[in-house]
Symmetry: C3
Subunit: 274 residues, 3 copies
């Protein structure tokens, strides 16, 4: 069990589950530059901590995330206007940092679960898209407000396509995408819609149990392979997949999994019920 102090996040690890809570409830957890940097730091720390097996991403105060912070954005914009072309582009820099954050969460070998309450907008919508499993309250509201503000969903564009498919992503971007929880479930932006906070916590625990029943190394290898299968042909993956399979079979996990199966007992990585 651990508790690391951040300024825009609350991060707690318990029984292999690292819960990262966006913690700026006074602005519905809008993403400041600090929050972006801390989210990346918290991920890298979790990835390098041996006993962390799954990430939960959620928001404090009844909202998930209202998107980019207007104040930080305005500051970057003023800097840009003040310094002219020579001084670099702080708006693009901030935006690219957010892009690297999305990519890091999209490609981490750790399973990522998002708990979606209240407002899920802009960059928050993007974080929902990169997670492996998403649970939402039935009152949650999803939006891509960028085009209605004269800007664009830039860094999350690839992850809208990954999560929703190109056609649904296009439809949502063109119409401003005000989506209810049930509509979000229909397009698999959300995997389970729950009626109240208690049911949401029960569903979260159930999802975590399913994930913790799977071997962590095997999950990581599978996530890597599925990511490659997005852009590489099936034919070109056969030999690499075979090598990875063989390696998995001979690994400690693979041997423990077989023994446990033959001995009709849970393998060592399954948490014991207390």
């Amino acid at each position: 069990m651990g508790h690391t102090v951040f300024s825009a996040l609350d991060v707690q690890t318990q029984s292999g589950v690292c819960t990262i809570t966006l913690n700026r409830p006074e602005v519905r957890n809008a993403m400041s530059l600090t929050m972006v940097q801390e989210l990346l730091g918290a991920l890298r720390h979790a990835e390098s901590t041996a006993d962390v097996r799954v990430l939960v991403l959620r928001g404090a105060g009844g909202h998930f995330c209202a998107g980019g912070d207007i104040a930080d954005m305005a500051q970057a914009r003023m800097k840009l206007a003040a310094q002219g072309a020579d001084g670099g582009d702080p708006v693009a820099d901030f935006n690219a940092q957010f892009g690297r954050l999305c990519l890091a969460y999209a490609r981490t070998r750790l399973p990522v679960v998002t708990v979606l309450e209240g407002t899920v907008m802009g960059g928050g919508f993007g974080l929902a898209c990169v997670s492996d499993v998403s649970l939402a309250l039935n009152t949650t509201v999803f939006r891509l407000p960028e085009t209605s503000l004269g800007v664009i969903p830039a860094q999350i564009a690839p992850f809208l396509v990954e999560r929703l498919g190109y056609a649904q992503a296009k439809r949502l971007a063109v119409t401003g995408a005000k989506v209810t929880a049930d509509q979000a479930a229909a397009i698999a932006l959300v995997h389970q819609v729950l009626p109240d906070a208690a049911a949401l916590e029960v569903a979260l625990q159930g999802t975590l149990q399913q994930i913790l029943a799977c071997a962590p190394g095997a999950i990581g290898m599978t996530k890597d392979l599925l990511a490659r299968a997005r852009h590489e042909t099936a034919e070109s993956l056969i030999d690499d997949a075979a090598r990875l399979f063989s390696r998995a079979v001979l690994s400690e996990e693979g041997q423990e999994g077989t023994h446990a199966f033959m001995q009709k007992r849970p393998p060592s990585w399954v948490p014991q019920e207390s």
Copy 2:
């Protein structure tokens, strides 16, 4: 407001909405070579007309489109048989022109809405696939009759995959794809199914309002970026996306969007209710 006369189309522009109506009701708006050329011309004209902000594609006489025109196809085929290999291939030429038409509508920066009534077959099915938003009557019937006629859905194949995903496209092509409006909604070929003509017009107006509330330049940039994200990796897009975001923020639209947001008024691109 404008009204351009075509022989196989009716094109009207009002309040930023360019409505292109396939207008050969005597053959359920089957696509002749003339219609293909006019559809491309109408699109290029709309794209270069500053006040056109959205395209609506629909059919006259209660049908959307019955696919390629058999008569024009037979003529091209007879020409091909008569002239032999030396004289080029008019069947392939006609077909490639239709392919370029589909691509032009699929990749235009303008939002495209299809209104689907009656018959939606072959090439008409393809046009439904390339649009951003599709509304249909509950009596609309969708079909890919090509393979049952001994030919193939050639030019629309990529757009079946874009809209429905590879697996659903394969299933429909193999089975001849007789799909009801509700089934079409289940595979996101259609985004809203309406019970009658009045409800269809209300839904269309609602969709147009959503689209017109978004900034036109921002929509165009977003459509371009989403198209790139189909085949390029997320990683390779980060820097370009950041530059585009910065450019959008500094654009007239981006500045007007921010000012309007701070002043709690609708931005200038939102049509005033009359």
Copy 3:
């Protein structure tokens, strides 16, 4: 009509339909090395037999397929442990053979229908993913147990992505994927869920009739084109698609299709009702 004897399969051909039945009911049709080799042999034989127009893949004894055979796998693993690095890698070899099998069924020009009953696990889940149309009983249970056994769904990874999309594939792999028939239908792993064996056979006959009403050569060309459209851009396919369309129009099928249409009779490839 033909009946070829295999040791792990039963293969029957009647009226253009080749039914391949996984036939190791004592182990819920678990896939042995022999079965993998025979499945590939049966496909190649069907592809080269002129009157075979569609493949049906199903399992004997109330189950579809429980995945890789543990005994064969254990043997390969012991061989690997015994011979060391010099003697090659029998685990990877077995796995790669299964990968080539999946690819062969995924890319065959013949339509493939799976009939899914009882257990559909691991490699069996993969076979369901590569088929064009899948029918299931409402009691069928789907699972990807690999990661819970410490190994990975290696060869089926590309086909999970093809069938379910990247995001759903990721979710299922991370959670161990215990999926009911109705849940499988919601993610288009299954196209029709039937309440009992009699309804399942009726649905199968209906699907076969739809497929047999389409021209076999045209289906093959369409499947090839759709597979290319997964990774190639729409723009790059226009000219090839036009050439293929022209070839289809001038083919025997294309001519028979047009004549039959004009003469208001079914084309020659449609089976006559007896």
